[in-house]
């Protein structure tokens, strides 16, 4: 049973004094159970709107939505106890401590208080759990949001851009946590992000959003398959000699303003080796927009 199914879902926001904004355009999205499913798309592509529709927070204009097999919104009450979500920014009482905020939610769901301590431990917030929420750093707020989403021991965990506002260490911790949850076999994580690298690092499957539609979906390694043919831009002291060496080694080389462009490089490390063997040392090696990235950009770009 898929964790998430959205068929022909359309949502247009009415905007006061402006033309209506179409946020979801005949969206088709299926998230199979298990693992981490990346939900990738540039800002404004409709990721948050899809998640809000999934959770019954907003009503789509048309389409069919199922969450853990139940129709949304009518069947939501039957499954909401198994769905944890963090949508955009965490929503808590600023004047209450992190612990109290979680305790109130646990009470709402009839969960034991020990569960609060467990999730505080998971996100490493126990030391600061008695401080007021409004005194937390952005990263701590985000972690408390994740803790709240984990409270229910969810079968489906929906995280909407969870690394927003985190420092590099925080981002690493959150990605580590997501990867761990995705591997436990009982949790499906739907991870929305506008960062290609994030999805690459933690997701097994990916769906790419653009302009309110899902434009590509599948296992990350398949969607990423074209990546090894990426182009590489290099700079060397002696351009002509290096070009000759690389051409002899079978690479397609073309000159650029201040260096060389080597096309379809399976492993950039090879270039370094080939050149070094002939006494050329690289000043710079930059992968040109990797294929997924360029495909991603091309697919998701606004039509001119």
């Amino acid at each position: 049973m898929p964790a998430v199914e959205m068929h022909a879902v359309t949502k247009t926001y009415a905007r006061r004094g402006k033309s209506p904004q179409k946020a979801l355009d005949d969206l088709e999205l299926v998230v199979e159970s298990g693992g981490v499913h990346g939900f990738l798309g540039p800002n404004g592509s409709g990721k948050t709107t899809s998640i809000r529709v999934l959770l019954g927070l907003i009503r789509p204009d048309a389409g069919e939505v199922r969450l853990l097999g139940r129709p949304v919104p009518s069947g939501l009450p039957d499954v909401i106890g198994s769905v944890g979500a963090l949508v955009e920014t965490p929503l808590f009482f600023p004047g209450f401590s992190g612990r109290r905020n979680l305790q109130l939610l646990a009470e709402t769901a009839g969960l034991p208080r020990t569960r609060v301590e467990e999730v505080l431990e998971t996100v490493e917030l126990r030391d600061r759990a008695d401080d007021r929420f409004k005194g937390y750093s952005l990263g701590m707020k985000q972690r408390l949001g994740i803790a709240a989403a984990l409270l229910k021991s969810p079968q489906l965990l929906i995280l909407d851009e969870p690394s927003n506002g985190l420092d590099p260490a925080g981002i690493r911790d959150v990605r580590e946590l997501i990867r761990r949850l995705g591997q436990d076999g009982s949790t499906t994580v739907l991870l929305s992000s506008h960062l290609l690298t994030e999805i690459e690092q933690v997701a097994d499957h990916v769906s790419i959003m653009a302009r309110g539609r899902c434009i590509a979906t599948g296992p990350v390694h398949k969607v990423l398959a074209g990546r090894s043919t990426g182009d590489v831009r290099i700079r060397v002291p002696d351009r002509a000699a290096a070009a000759a060496v690389l051409t002899a080694a079978g690479y397609a080389v073309s000159p650029t303003a201040d260096g060389l462009l080597v096309s379809a490089v399976p492993a950039p490390g090879e270039i370094t080796r080939v050149l070094a063997e002939h006494g050329h040392y690289l000043e710079e090696l930059t992968p040109v927009a990797a294929d997924l990235e360029s495909a991603f950009l091309a697919l998701t770009a606004e039509p001119a």
């Binding site: 809000r52 959770l55 019954g56 927070l57 907003i58 009503r59 853990l68 097999g69 139940r70 919104p73 939501l76 009450p77 039957d78 499954v79 909401i80 106890g81 198994s82 769905v83 944890g84 979500a85 949508v87 965490p90 929503l91 808590f92 009482f93 600023p94 004047g95 209450f96 109290r100 305790q103 109130l104 939610l105 009470e107 709402t108 769901a109 009839g110 969960l111 709240a148 229910k152 079968q155 076999g185 009982s186």
Partner: protein
Amino acid sequence: MSAVLTPPSVPTTAPAGRFGGLLRAETHRLRARRFIQVLLGLAVLAWIAVTALGLLNYEKATPERLAAAQAQLQEQVEQNEIGRQQCLTDPSLPPDVPVDQLCGPPMTAEDMELSWFLDPTPYSLSEEGPGGAVSIAAATAVLTFLIGATFVGAEWSSRSMVALLFWETRRPRVMGAKIAVVAVATLLVGVATQLAWLATAGIWQAVAGDGVPLPDGFWSEMLATHGRGALLALFAGLLGFGLTNLVRNTGAALGVGFVYFAVVESAISGFRPTWQPWLLTTNAAGLVVPGGLELTIYTDEIDTQGNSVVIEHLVTNLQGGIVMGVVTAVVVGVGVVLFSRRDAQ
């Protein structure tokens, strides 16, 4: 020994929590709100202050003080009679006018009250008790309006109203729990302030009372007033809740409340006096005041003698209760319907 593979268990999904959990969480949320704690603390301080002030300003009517007052009253009557006699014997009086109109009617001790000659006066539970309960009900209504408004206002400003929908997707339930908790809390506050007033009046009567025995039916009238006062606290709390829930912001709700009570009601009283029986304050008072609120309305109409037509209108306890109840239900109900229908962001 070979490892036994447990078959992948079919995951059973968990439903939303029970309504009782929602109620408990809302109760805790309300009790933990700092602003509400401060409001209640201030109310307790105000109560202590009023009680102390009363003890300073009222003084028991001892037999000696009563005798002195009696003597003063008697002296006043005599002085008046002396003056009247002088007036009657004045030769310049016009003969065709009744003497009582010129020199006033004869005065007796019954025309005056003994308490006028007691300073400081003793407290009179029999006369001032119910009126005090009405004043306390008015002050409590302001308090519970603020409690209801700030409670739900904080939910909107922190957007935890939306966060709750991740836990209970049935929006009428989310609202229902909040309404139930605000209703019970404000009713309790209403009962508490009425009891506090009863204690204050009792202390004043015991320490600085007039010693007059309470008339028949006093306690039933007093208790009924207390009850209606507590009911007003409930309506005011829900009105504050409902209004804030509509505009989704405490400050804006208080602004709307201020404009209504300070501007709209005065304007209506001035320009459309015949609408007065339908104003909120009129009906709030009508609900609590023993026997209902007597309105004297000076209309714009002029009768044949050139006087403006005066209408006497009684806003009964029942009318006050019904109007307050209907208005509260509509304001709260519209908020619930909008919350259930609109997108939550």
